[in-house]
Amino acid sequence: MENITKKIRAVAKQALINKEIDKILGWKKGDLWSESYPVFITKPEDADSLIWDSFCINNLSKYLIKELPKYDKIGIFIKGCDSTSFNQLLKDNRINRENVVLYGIPCEGMVDPEKVKKIMLNDRVTRVKKSENGFTLTNKNTSKDVLGEEIKYDKCLTCTSPNPVVYDQLLGDVVNNNVNREDRFKGVEEIESMTPDERYNFWKGEFQRCLRCNACRDICPACSCVKCVFDNSDAEISGKAKTEGEDTFFHIVRAYHVAGRCVDCGECARICPAGIPLDKLNRKIIKDINEVYGEFNAGLDSTTPAPLVTFKLEDADTFSKQGGK
């Protein structure tokens, strides 16, 4: 990780000095061990604050929507899941590929501070360092070795794209992780096996914690509308009442609006302050698309049309057996 940090700083400094780019998006260390913030850098001397560690979870590609109109050329560091988001933004015509320089970073998975806190509760962790087989958690007096699986984000455990799928320059070595693409659907299958009432009660329990903070929408690389329907008071879609029906309404519509464009980065579930497993809604749609219309992975490239903007004459459907004419 230190090697990549060095490379990041060197690359950023060089590119800014040579005026290849006007601005670079990366991460810097926050005050706490668990915080790595996005940072936008325009001066070469600031490049030394850039870092790469196990907490650079934030996806920087969505910032391009706001930053690109202001600058001619922007450099950005992207992980595997960020690169699929980048492709999706390209496909949605939200950004221009020519104005962006991509520095890809293969990623071995990010560490969930909440899981670390659970392991060393009240022990005041001061450092989390990558070791040979996993991670070493250190506090004032002791240190403890844990496996990567114990403290990585759930979404990283089923990650299918650890390596960037699009980049101009790759920093670091390609990572192998042997995750079966189908593994991510296990949670969905669990819910599918319930009865309708059980399913409804499950989701009711989850949705009633919803604060309607819209964080899931704001972080989503597929939710890139200039004006979201939920912000448009004329559309009469956004009900502000805190009722069971409105919460369910919001979440179904949110999941459906990204159908076929969701890159399965799992950011919505990670960011949710109430811990609602939103990825299980999105994955249900991905699973259905795969089953009914053939395997489709949004974000793997920027040209294949999404399943819901296209059709075939001989398409099957799920509501009648014959599938229509």
């Binding site: 819910i191 409804y200 989701w203 409105e246 259905d288 459907d317 799920t318 509501f319």
Partner: protein, 154 residues
């Protein structure tokens, strides 16, 4: 008035009358409903038809709002694939509502409550059968309480 008659009145009022909202495409299914009417076919009066220009005009919001505001079942009816007035509209309906049907089932709405079907302008009979079938299914399931807006009273 005796006590008996009173209870009878209450019983009658509380008898479950399903409310079905049917989104019908202007060019086929709405005409199909017309044909069912002019052919003097029987279909239940609990069906409230909402005319839409094309079945692909139906948004997921419409369906959810219908359930929230008192519907016990929702039907979406459009031209048969290939017969769309706008050439391709119902192909999109087919893909969208395949996913939405599954998604609604996934969050716990019984699949009998939500139906998508193709009804052409010549299929007055089919219109009556589809509507009778969904009414029967919904009647068996009883009133819909899921997704219901708590402020809504019927």
């Amino acid at each position: 008035m005796s006590l008996d008659t009173n209870t009878n009145i209450i019983d009658k009022n509380e008898e479950f009358k399903p409310l079905i909202v049917a989104f019908c495409c202007n060019w086929c299914s709405y005409a199909g409903a017309d044909l069912a009417g002019t052919s003097r076919l029987n279909y239940p009066a609990n069906i409230k038809i909402i005319r839409v220009p094309c079945s692909c005009r139906v948004n997921i919001n419409f369906v959810l709002r219908a359930f929230q505001n008192g519907a016990d079942g929702v039907v979406i009816a459009g031209c048969h694939p290939g017969d769309c007035h706008y050439s391709t509209g119902n192909y999109h309906t087919r893909r969208r509502f395949s996913l939405i049907t599954n998604l609604a089932e996934y969050v716990g709405v019984e699949k009998e409550r939500f139906k998508v079907d193709w009804i052409s302008a010549a299929e007055g009979n089919k219109f009556a059968t589809v509507m009778n079938d969904i009414l029967e299914d919904v009647y068996k399931l009883g009133p819909n309480k899921k997704l219901r807006d708590a402020r809504w009273k019927i």
